[in-house]
C-alpha cells in the first residue's frame, strides 16, 4: 500500500540530498521574491549561499503565525495573484485567520501528499469516502477531496452538519470511509444509535480522522463504536493543509512527506534545535511551495520525530501523534497541562461517556480546573457510594497524571456540547 514507491522508500542519503537541493531552492526563492524574508535574512546576516548542508538551516530565523497575520492577507505571497489559483484561510482556532495561496503546482503537490497518506491506510479506488469536514476556507475538506480523487476513490462531499442526512447517505451509498474530526465521528455514532436503523446498515471500515488531536484512548473508543480502523493524519493550513504526515497501517507514528517538508524539533523556549528523538516543538520548512513559501515555520505543536525505518517499508521519518499544541497548553497553578493528558485519563474510565469539557477559573490568586464528564452508567445510581467512588477514581487518576487537584463534575448524558468541526473543549475563564 505504497502510493509513490520512489519517494516513500528512497534511501535516506538520496532523500537528504534531494532535501538539501530543495532547501537551497526555497531559501533563494524567498530571498529573491518576498521582501519580508529578504529583510529578515539580511538582518540575520544570512545570504542564501550560506546554506551548504541541511543543518545550516539553523541560521535561518523562524517564521511564526504572527508574521503571517502581520502580512495579512497576501504580503508573504511569492507570486503575482494571476498565478494563484486557490486561496484558503486557517480555521482561526486562535485569533485572526491566516491566508495561504496555492499555485497550480502547489495544488498538484498537495493532492500527491494526501494521496500517499490516504493510500497508506488502505484507501483506494474501491473506497467510497464521505468527507464530513466543512468545505470552504478551511483546508481540510478540499485537501482530502483532491487527494482521494487522485487515488480514484469515490468522493461524497457531504461537508459538516445535518447529521441525519449524513447518515442516510452513509447507509444508502454504502460509504466505507469517513473523513471527519474524531469528535464528530463520535457524535455521529450517537445520532446513528437514535436514527432507528440497525448499526449493521452502516458499512464504515476506515476513518481518516484529523484536524484536531486524538489520543490513542479516544481512537480506541471510536473504533469500538463504529467498528472501523481509525487513522490519524496531520497538517496545518500554513504549511498547506493536511498531508504533511499521516499514519500507515502499522500506526506507529505519522510518516512525513519528507520530499515536500523539512522538519525539525526545537526547544520551544530557547529555539534551539534538539537531538533526534527528543520531544519538542515541530518546525516545518515546506520545500516546494510556490504560492506562499515559508522558512522554519513554528507550528506550536509538540511531538517527537524518529528516523528509524518503519515495518511498512517506508524510509521516511515519522512523527508521534501531536502531544498538544503549545498554544493549547494550560498553565494551572504553575503546572503545565495538556488537554490530551486529561483525555487519555478519561477515556480509560468506564461508566462515563467520551465527551468532556475543561473549565479553568481563577479564584483570587488560585487557579482551579474543573473537568466535566457525562455519567452514562445507570447501574451506579443505586448507591451513592458507587458514584462517589467513580468520582474519586477520576480525581485520583487525574492527580496522578497532572499532579494537581481537579474538581470533577458528573453531568447528564448529552449535556456537554458536541462539535462538528474542531472541538473546543477548554473554557478558560481566567481573564474574564
Amino acid at each position: 500500500m505504497i502510493w509513490n514507491r520512489e519517494m516513500e522508500t528512497m534511501k535516506r542519503s538520496d532523500l537528504q540530498a534531494l532535501q538539501l537541493e530543495r532547501l537551497k531552492w526555497v531559501v533563494n526563492y524567498c530571498y529573491e521574491r518576498v521582501p519580508y524574508y529578504r529583510d529578515k535574512l539580511d538582518k540575520a546576516r544570512v545570504k542564501p549561499d550560506k546554506i551548504k548542508t541541511l543543518s545550516d538551516i539553523k541560521y535561518i530565523p523562524f517564521t511564526t503565525k504572527d508574521d503571517l497575520r502581520d502580512n495579512y492577507p497576501f504580503g508573504l505571497f511569492a507570486v503575482p495573484m494571476k498565478e494563484i489559483v486557490r486561496v484558503h484561510a486557517s480555521s482561526g482556532t486562535t485569533g485572526k485567520p491566516t491566508v495561504v495561496g496555492y499555485t497550480k503546482n502547489d495544488l498538484n503537490n498537495w493532492a500527491e501528499m494526501v494521496a500517499r497518506i490516504a493510500y497508506a491506510v488502505g484507501a483506494n479506488s474501491d473506497s467510497i469516502v464521505q468527507i464530513a469536514f466543512g468545505y470552504g476556507m478551511f483546508t481540510g475538506a478540499l485537501g482530502l477531496h483532491y487527494g482521494l480523487e487522485k487515488i480514484g476513490a469515490t468522493v461524497v462531499p457531504t461537508s459538516t452538519g445535518n447529521s441525519e442526512r449524513q447518515l442516510m447517505f452513509m447507509r444508502d451509498f454504502k460509504t466505507n470511509t469517513l473523513v471527519s474530526t474524531p469528535s464528530y465521528a463520535l457524535y455521529l455514532y450517537e445520532v446513528a444509535k437514535e436514527a432507528g436503523f440497525p448499526l449493521d446498515s452502516y458499512n464504515l471500515k476506515l476513518g481518516l480522522l484529523g484536524s484536531e488531536g486524538c489520543t490513542p484512548e479516544m481512537r480506541d473508543q471510536i473504533e469500538k463504536t463504529w467498528g472501523m480502523f481509525v487513522t490519524d493524519n496531520y497538517g496545518l493550513s500554513e504549511t498547506g493543509g493536511p498531508g504533511l504526515s499521516g499514519e500507515c497501517v502499522e500506526r506507529d507514528g505519522l510518516h512525513i512527506c519528507e520530499d515536500f517538508f523539512l522538519c525539525e524539533i526545537i526547544d520551544p523556549d530557547t529555539g534551539e534545535v534538539l537531538e533526534p528523538g527528543s520531544t519538542g516543538e515541530l518546525v516545518v520548512t515546506p520545500l516546494t511551495k510556490e504560492g506562499i513559501p515559508l522558512l522554519r515555520y513554528r507550528t506550536r505543536d509538540i511531538t517527537r520525530i524518529t528516523y528509524e525505518p518503519c515495518r511498512c517499508g517506508r524510509t521516511t521519518a515519522r512523527m508521534d501523534k501531536i502531544k498538544g499544541r503549545s498554544d493549547d497548553m494550560l498553565i494551572i497553578k504553575g503546572v503545565n497541562v495538556f488537554p490530551s493528558q486529561i483525555e487519555s485519563v478519561l477515556m480509560g474510565i468506564k461508566s462515563i461517556g467520551p465527551h468532556y469539557q475543561l473549565v479553568v477559573r481563577r479564584k483570587g490568586y488560585m487557579d482551579t480546573l474543573e473537568v466535566k464528564v457525562e455519567l452514562t452508567d445507570g447501574s451506579l445510581l443505586d448507591r451513592y457510594s458507587e458514584i462517589e467512588s467513580l468520582h474519586n477514581n477520576i480525581k485520583q487518576r487525574l492527580k496522578a497524571v497532572l499532579g494537581l487537584d481537579a474538581k470533577v463534575t458528573l453531568v447528564e448524558p448529552k449535556s456537554l456540547e458536541r462539535f462538528q468541526g474542531k472541538a473546543k473543549r477548554v473554557l478558560d475563564l481566567r481573564n474574564q
Binding site: L375, S379, I387, S415
Partner: protein
C-alpha cells in the same frame, strides 16, 4: 414482594426536574412515591411509578441515565413506634438500610415505607416473621 424503583441521575439545574417529570407525564406514567437526595452538583431522583418498564424506556430514549432497582415496601400502622419496630427488627438481624423514604395513606391510617437493603430475601423473611406487612408490587402500583 419486591417493587421496582427507578433511579434517575439529575443535574442540579433549574427546570431539570420539570423536564424529567414532563417526560413521564407525556407517557402517562403515574408517580406513586418519590424522593430526591442531592449533592452540590447533582441529585438522584428515586421514583415508584405505576409502569416502571414504560418509564425507564421513555427516560432512556430522552438520553437520561436511569436504572431499575428492586426495593421492599412495608405497610405499618400510622402510630408512634411502628417504624421503630420495623427498623429495630432489621437492626437486630444485622440488616443494613441503604436508604428509605416513607409516605402516608390517610384513608387507611397506614404509612408506607420504601426500604433499600443489602439482602432483600433476608429482610423479607425477618419482617414477615416479625409481623410487618409487606406490599406486593401490584398493590403499590395501583395504590
Amino acid at each position: 414482594m419486591l417493587i421496582e424503583q427507578l433511579s434517575i441521575f439529575v443535574e442540579n439545574k433549574k427546570g431539570r426536574l420539570a423536564e424529567v417529570t414532563g417526560i413521564l407525564a407525556k407517557h402517562n406514567v403515574d408517580i406513586r412515591a418519590l424522593c430526591i437526595a442531592d449533592t452540590t452538583d447533582y441529585g438522584i431522583l428515586r421514583l415508584i411509578v405505576d409502569k416502571p418498564g414504560v418509564a425507564v424506556e421513555c427516560l432512556k430514549e430522552e438520553g437520561l441515565t436511569v436504572s431499575l432497582t428492586k426495593v421492599i415496601a412495608i405497610a405499618i400502622p400510622d402510630t408512634p413506634g411502628s417504624l421503630y419496630k420495623a427498623v429495630d427488627l432489621l437492626a437486630k438481624h444485622d440488616i443494613a438500610v441503604e436508604y428509605m423514604y416513607a409516605f402516608l395513606n390517610p384513608k387507611k391510617d397506614t404509612a408506607f415505607v420504601i426500604l433499600r437493603v443489602e439482602d432483600n430475601e433476608k429482610a423479607i423473611k425477618v419482617l414477615t416473621d416479625g409481623g410487618v406487612a409487606l406490599m406486593k408490587s401490584e398493590e403499590m402500583y395501583t395504590l
